[in-house]
């Protein structure tokens, strides 16, 4: 049995943190697996739940674990072995593990582009775009909301595609405008009450927002996207 010995040089939670970190790095707890409960950990290490919670707080902050309300604590992929950025630029770290993703379409409508979207997509304000707002879920847990504005001049009848079946990128490829690169902005934003509810977090919590224009290989803008992630899933990786 591992036990935390207080050497007095370190607080107890720090000692526990070291032990848990070591287990994650040695893959005793593998990526995607569920950690024992706070109660079980407290029992195993003969300490209090507060100490366990403090140690888990640091692991969570470092992105090594993820706590999912009502489900438990899961081991994330370590950042060194995380999803490589195949598309270049930063993008959401998809730490799939053993998880099942799904999509729920919240809104789906044709609208006129308006001045700003027209500017972003290099079209006219009166041109039509398809507006799709969707909620991404992993293991039925909401992880992100994406609002996408798609050009209909280069994607005719795109409103007939079922985006809960086909991904956006698959769709663009079918029209022979495959994704080539993106211009992205990343900032921290306060969640609106409505979005907070969709993501199952507290209203007023802050999270990461990406605003993005994607292009095909001919420098043609395809879509403008605004995405927000649930705070515990918010993470981006850039490699060079």
């Amino acid at each position: 049995m591992d036990e935390i010995v207080n050497t007095k040089s370190k607080p107890l939670y720090q000692e526990l943190y070291d032990v848990l970190l070591e287990r994650i790095e040695r893959r005793f707890y593998t990526a995607g697996s569920k950690l024992p409960t706070e109660y079980e950990l407290a029992d195993e290490f003969n300490t209090t739940r507060i100490t366990v919670r403090n140690a888990l707080d640091i692991l969570e902050r470092e992105g090594l674990i993820r706590r999912i309300q009502g489900k438990g604590t899961f081991v994330a992929q370590s950042w060194n072995e995380g999803a490589l950025d195949v598309r270049g630029g930063f993008r959401e770290l998809v730490r799939q593990g053993r998880e099942t993703p799904s999509v729920r379409i919240l809104e789906h409508a044709l609208r006129s582009a308006g001045s700003f979207i027209a500017l972003m997509l290099d079209i006219q304000p009166e041109d039509t775009v398809l507006y799709v707002r969707r909620l991404n879920l992993v293991n039925d847990e909401p992880v992100s909301i994406h609002s996408t504005y798609i050009r209909t001049d280069i994607f005719p009848s795109v409103e007939e595609i079922d985006f809960s079946v086909f991904s956006m990128y698959e769709t663009y490829s079918m029209y022979e405008h495959s994704y080539a690169y993106a211009n992205q902005k990343l900032s921290v934003v306060e969640l609106s009450a409505h979005d907070a509810q969709l993501l199952n977090v507290h209203a007023g919590d802050s999270t990461l927002m990406i605003e993005e224009i994607t292009y095909d290989s001919q420098d043609l803008p395809l879509e403008f996207v605004r995405s927000i992630s649930s705070p515990s899933h918010a993470g981006f990786l850039h490699t060079y």
Binding site: E62, G63, A109, D122, K185, L186, G235
Partner: protein, 252 residues
């Protein structure tokens, strides 16, 4: 065809106004009344949009004076920005930093795994607060291996010295590869004091490893960033015919 919802019309309207008028850091927006007329939206819709733009740091509202494009905000472009000082100076902001601590430590297994250092070797740790126009924007903790940079912990006055200058000019080592990971966190008590923010404020936690051509670690850095004063952009490619527009959009 659906009508654009009022909140979205307001948000898109403010963005359009800033871009079309080529607004820059410190510029003042029209009053709420004028904006409502210009964008044909209600006060409620406009306020919702302004709230989104202030919470994300694009705009700042000054009591009794109006709404401005945030004057103190550094843009870090992953493919272009090399360090805090040059990113700040590129935007006409004045960077400064103050030393919190320097130490030489024995590399633990944990640090070795993250930074790709040798367990038991020695590393230099440099902890600084970086400021823009005298406002604390981030805390940066850099770890540098003494295997690669012998004597770096002894020879320099880190109150004055630029880490990049020393790395490049004194040691002749250059960064070619790396990884930057961003996540969200809350400031703890000590960080909040140093950054002059309330404890528990949402902050960006950045962890970066910079490597040479041969993938030897140059530095491993952890930063705690106040989002209001620092934001990120990425351009994995660039549409040259839209250069000015995209650059202004990224800066805002």
């Amino acid at each position: 065809m659906d009508k654009i919802r009022a909140y979205e019309r307001a948000l898109e309207g403010v963005w359009n106004l800033m871009l079309v008028n080529e607004m820059e850091a410190g510029d003042k927006l029209p009053s709420e009344r004028v904006l409502c007329e210009l964008l044909e939206v209600s006060r409620t819709a406009l306020r919702g949009a302004l709230k989104q733009l202030t919470s994300s740091g694009v705009l700042v509202q000054m009591q009794g004076s109006g709404t401005y494009v945030n004057p103190n905000r550094v843009l870090h472009i992953f493919q272009k920005s090399h360090n805090f000082s040059s990113s700040s100076e590129a935007l006409g902001l004045t960077p400064s930093s103050s030393l919190i601590s320097i130490s030489t430590l024995v590399v633990s297994e944990k640090l070795a795994a993250r930074a790709n250092f040798r367990v038991g070797s020695k590393a230099f740790r440099l902890e600084r607060v970086r400021r823009i126009n005298d406002i604390p924007a981030l805390i940066e903790r850099a770890y540098i291996s003494l295997d690669t940079f012998p004597g770096i912990d002894q020879k320099y006055d880190w109150n004055q010295e630029s880490l990049y200058r020393v790395i490049n000019e004194e040691y002749g080592i250059f960064i070619k590869h790396g990884k930057e990971r961003i996540s969200l966190s809350k400031s703890n008590r000590e960080e909040s004091k140093l950054l002059n923010i309330e404890e528990g404020t949402s902050v960006i936690f950045q962890r970066a490893i910079a490597q040479t051509d041969d993938l030897i670690t140059v530095e491993f850095v952890e930063s705690v960033i106040v989002p209001q004063f620092y934001h990120f952009a990425s351009a994995s490619g660039f549409p040259l015919h839209r250069k000015e527009l995209i650059e202004s959009w990224m800066r805002l």
